[in-house]
Symmetry: C4
Subunit: 191 residues, 4 copies
């Protein structure tokens, strides 16, 4: 089964998710700079989620590029990942609207944990299909970066109720850590 | 006539439908867990519809993969299917917003019935184009699963007015039944 | 210049337009059949516009299929068509919300006229690029159907202020006339 | 790394941005011509942004067409451009809603400046990847048009607080200047 439609569908879903979040940023009715100030938390929340969805798209691109074909199980693993990503606009909005309060920040982390797990399941389904000697298996290796990210989110969730801003800082830190693209796959492919 | 643009357009429409439903899940203005509770029916309704649209995309993928070309009639049969799927966000929202009340649950079933019929018409239009000895005709066979699904929806619609939750249970049951991808086409293709 | 990205972009825009209209169909807050009744004009208006956008996508598909390449002028002629199509959700919503009143019905016709002209300009730009002996020039011929459609919309616009429902009838009639796919191109291509 | 998915994702995002702006144009509840009058600034603002996003799509198309492959750095430069473009619906809406008042007009210019810079960064990342003797490097040259555009936006931003309409005029002027497609790339490619 070819992977092109799965790519096209995932591109479509992520493109929509990354753009509909901006609908929450509705312009205030006064044309003043002060009227924009209450939008700052929503805007920061938007930037964070834009970067996260960008990271997922980027990693998804690298991941699928390293594989040759897909099967029914992979399609569902992919839809499962898209489901958790589809909740990002909701938690982004809730977090921004409530000025990064404890519960929304914690729930943001919960969605990131499940998205991370879903990405892990997808990569394992692809490895299962291509074999442990395949490009994808070699490229991903033990997938340390994905594991440490989920671990950091799991630390940030309880932390949100004590030092909320440190929890937010953890999300920003993980995002920056991922901004460096997944060289492992690029390297393995060009070998 | 090549099938690529029909695939791309269908992917686009289904990707949008599966994601705009999440716009209904607007975050509450209080940052508390209790504020999320009223969203539970909307969320459950969203999950059900996400799975249904995922199933349709998955089956559509399998279906179109098994064919070589399309014609004007197939394009319209496809648009007809997309029309019924486009009503899914509306009924999802109505059902979730009214906590799975009788009428919305019944209407949800009506939309599923018409989507099921539209899918059947599309598959027949494809078989008519490729001949009764084609891969697609062999792979689909009598299409028992599609027929039983429509039959189950037809049972669930009147049931919604008596035991609403059983009707909902039927929708969840059919969804789970379809989560197992359509192996028939995969098997026929790899023969 | 290859035509694939123009196809992909047009597919994306039309897919979004055809689906965002459904956002206007927000479920009522009561779970009764009577609560749905006020939505009937909005629903009918949605069905009409779904069919029109389906027709444009279908004809666009046939048109671009008959050409080999595009240039900057064609890209802008295409964006010009997409601009007028992008106004369809607005007039659809205004027409449905006001129960097919005179002014909205007339404006719906105006948008259809401009979309029709934009489609004509696009087809001429494609013929200019491929020559008067090309497949596309032969297939389109004098393009009688497109001309008669614009003429009928022009009749319907003033009629909207006298017999509004006849004007609506004209829109439905033209839509049905176009439901028959553009066999000219299919025939010319298979010759 | 192939460029097709980056094209598909960018097409998706720009297609969504260009169409969701129309959601702001919600039909008034009275079916009269006077009821449409308050929408005129929003409509003009929509037209301007439609043209700008059309220009970006068009130039992006020309740019990517001239390159053979992409890398992780290009993917992020592209996402960075999409981020600034994603703010266009927000500033469009704010500007239209406030009848082209000083602050919104100035902020519109700020977003255009950053989008212009992001486009410049993307083109440099592509030149860095393909070498200074490549098609893309020759085609873009000193990229005078992109530089003069950013310079004009920078003039328009302070001007918005003195002669707001002249600032708007500058945006329209730059848009018209770009409506002429980027012949440099077309010429270099056909050499």
């Amino acid at each position: 089964m070819s992977k092109t439609r799965m790519e096209a569908f995932s591109d479509g879903v992520i493109a929509i998710l990354i753009t509909i979040m901006v609908l929450e940023l509705s312009g205030p009715h006064e044309p003043t700079l002060e009227a924009l100030r209450p939008l700052i938390p929503t805007f920061l929340s938007y930037v964070l989620s834009f970067v996260y969805l960008g990271i997922y798209w980027n990693n998804h691109h690298h991941l699928i590029q390293a594989v040759q074909h897909v099967n029914g199980r992979v399609l569902w693993a992919n839809l499962h990942l898209l489901f958790w990503l589809s909740l990002v606009p909701f938690v982004t909005n809730w977090m921004g609207d409530n000025h990064f309060a404890a519960w929304p920040v914690a729930l943001y982390g919960v969605v990131l944990v499940f998205a991370g797990i879903a990405y892990f399941i997808l990569s394992r389904a692809l490895i299962a299909l291509h074999g442990s000697q395949s490009t994808i298996a070699t490229a991903l290796g033990s997938d340390f970066k994905a594991k440490i990210s989920v671990a950091l989110y799991l630390v940030a969730i309880p932390l949100a109720f004590v030092y909320t801003w440190i929890a937010c800082g953890v999300y920003f830190f993980v995002a920056i850590m991922w901004l460096i693209p997944d060289r492992r796959i690029e390297k393995t492919l060009t070998k």
